[in-house]
């Protein structure tokens, strides 16, 4: 058993070297395929992160009337926090709101004078709500609207909910994200399907050139595993070498792309490439190995019948 494995391994390596042209052709095709798979992966990552960043900037604000009592505010706040769709609620008290206002308009003499003349804090507390999904803002705002209408007219709590003003922007963003996600997953599926077909055909051609050898091996009394082994090993080697090559090609491209994506998407692809290198390596090289192995196994099965 051990001897057989050793012989199969040696035959795999020897075959890889002696059929250098066939090996090179397969590796070239597989490298291109893995490069493309890498490209879809990185674009997907870029879109997910930058859209996610965009999404986290969206929120709706609830402004309370200045006279609202602490209990009323905190009960609404708790009710909102209890909603399953809500990801984050940030509370800004009346004093903090005033502080923020002062900071923002510290250069504006007239506004500051007007504020000082009032003597009292004219601002109400507010909460900022972030939903888990863009599509959930609609229902959250409906809930808030109900809360606002429930309050007694002589004792209002909520002054305004600003969803109405942001509605259009949020909906547009929602549509864009849906479209991008759907089309990028369709493109990924199509590309990966094409990649599998191309790899399979290339390796099938490589093994087709060896069909005569396979029939000779059978006549000499070699068992199927003994014939198949070296070809499977070669498939794995094609995948391994191609994966490493594809990553080597990606490296300088990433160095170049890094600062550019940083500027445009606020996401540095090069940093991602370096920090997540182990998982990227696993995906690219792993895909190569699986593709090479499966293609070899399928291609050789044809010549082992009879």
């Amino acid at each position: 058993m051990f001897t057989a494995i050793r012989r199969i391994t040696r035959a795999g390596f020897v075959g890889f070297w002696r059929n250098a042209y066939v090996s090179l052709a397969s590796i070239f095709v597989l490298t291109v395929v893995l490069f493309v798979i890498g490209a879809t992966m990185f674009v997907d990552q870029l879109l997910t992160t930058s859209l996610g960043a965009l999404q986290s900037k969206v929120d709706i604000n609830v402004y309370f009337v200045p006279t609202a009592s602490e209990e009323d505010i905190s009960s609404i706040r708790k009710a909102v926090e209890a909603l399953p769709d809500v990801a984050l609620v940030t509370y800004t008290s009346r004093e903090e709101a005033l502080e923020n206002f002062r900071n923002r308009y510290s250069n504006n003499e007239i506004t500051m004078q007007a504020l000082n003349e009032l003597g009292d804090n004219p601002l109400g507390a507010n909460i900022a709500i972030q939903a888990k999904e863009l599509s959930q803002y609609e229902s959250i705002s409906r809930f808030l609207e109900e809360q606002r209408l429930q309050a007694l007219p002589q004792n209002p709590v909520i002054e305004t909910v600003n969803y109405g003003r942001n509605k259009e922007a949020i909906e547009t963003l929602n549509t864009i994200m849906d479209t991008v996600e759907r089309s990028s997953s369709i493109i990924t599926i199509v590309l990966i399907f094409a990649a599998i077909l191309i790899t399979f055909n290339t390796i099938r051609l490589a093994i087709y050139t060896a069909r005569e050898e396979i029939s000779i091996m059978r006549l000499v009394g070699a068992s199927n595993m003994f014939i198949r082994g070296p070809f499977l090993l070669q498939g794995i080697m094609y995948g391994l070498v191609s994966g490493v090559l594809a990553l080597l090609i990606w490296y300088p491209i990433m160095v170049w792309l890094g600062p550019r994506t940083e500027a445009f998407f606020e996401f540095n692809l090069f940093t991602y490439f370096v920090s997540d290198f182990s998982s990227i390596f696993m995906v690219i090289v792993g895909t190569g190995i699986v593709l090479g192995f499966v293609s070899s196994a399928l291609a050789i099965a044809r010549y082992l019948r009879v």
């Binding site: 000779i216 000499v220 009394g221 003994f226």
Partner: protein, 227 residues
């Protein structure tokens, strides 16, 4: 040792036959030549022995085993008992002469020591010790066929099946190959060979089976080429 029992092979159209009711047997240590025109069924006959083709009727026995009842997974084991030699040599082009012969032993599960010992012996038997590390592309037709014979005998098979082994060779190479086959037979291995070559048959003076249109028409114990 080999026994054909009323073997027929019909092609898919159901009318033309490669073999018709062929019955004969080969005893151990015999040297049997099968002659006949192209299409007489010689090659089909040999393919039955190495289980590359199945009869539509009748049975082929190797010792007491019905060859065509052997399950697919056991076929490699059966084939290791038979050495095969072909007109077109069928050497592995990416392996040297030595490696071609060693491959048959590796496939057979022999140890490295046995391989290191037997391959040079087989090469010297066919007088090719000096070409051990040449690839088939660097050998002449006669040399290739001698490598193929060395590969066929290296596992000490019970029987050598040779399909037109001299078909692609010039007269001198033909003579050498026939002498080697005769030497192997003298050492105790059964040989079954098909041929077109009248000179080979007359030179051998051994048993000759003559085929025509899928039937055995003559079977002479010390035959001449009669067609």
């Amino acid at each position: 040792m080999i026994y054909f029992d009323n073997v027929s092979k019909l092609y898919n159209d159901g009318r033309s036959a490669a073999l018709q009711e062929v019955t004969f047997q080969v005893a151990p240590k015999e040297f049997v030549s099968i002659v006949g025109h192209s299409g007489a069924g010689k090659t089909t006959l040999l393919k039955m022995i190495i289980a590359e083709d199945r009869p539509t009727d009748g049975q082929v026995f190797f010792e007491s085993i019905d060859i065509h009842q052997i399950p697919r997974t056991r076929l490699p084991h059966y084939r290791r008992k038979i050495g095969t030699v072909f007109q077109d040599f069928k050497l592995l082009p990416n392996k040297t002469a030595y490696e071609n012969i060693a491959f048959a032993m590796e496939a057979n599960g022999r140890t490295d020591d046995e391989i290191a010992e037997n391959v040079p012996q087989a090469l010297s038997l066919v007088d090719l010790s000096d070409k051990a590390w040449n690839y088939p592309g660097e050998l002449s037709g006669g040399e290739k066929q001698r490598v193929a014979i060395a590969r066929a005998i290296v596992n000490q098979p019970d029987i050598i099946v040779a399909d037109e082994p001299t078909g692609n060779l010039d007269p001198i190479a033909t003579y050498e190959v026939v002498q080697i086959l005769r030497k192997i037979n003298d050492l105790g291995t059964t040989v079954i060979m098909t041929t077109h070559n009248k000179g080979v048959i007359d030179e051998l003076g051994r048993r000759v089976i003559t085929m025509d249109e899928g039937r055995i028409v003559r079977d002479d114990s010390s035959g001449k080429y009669v067609l």
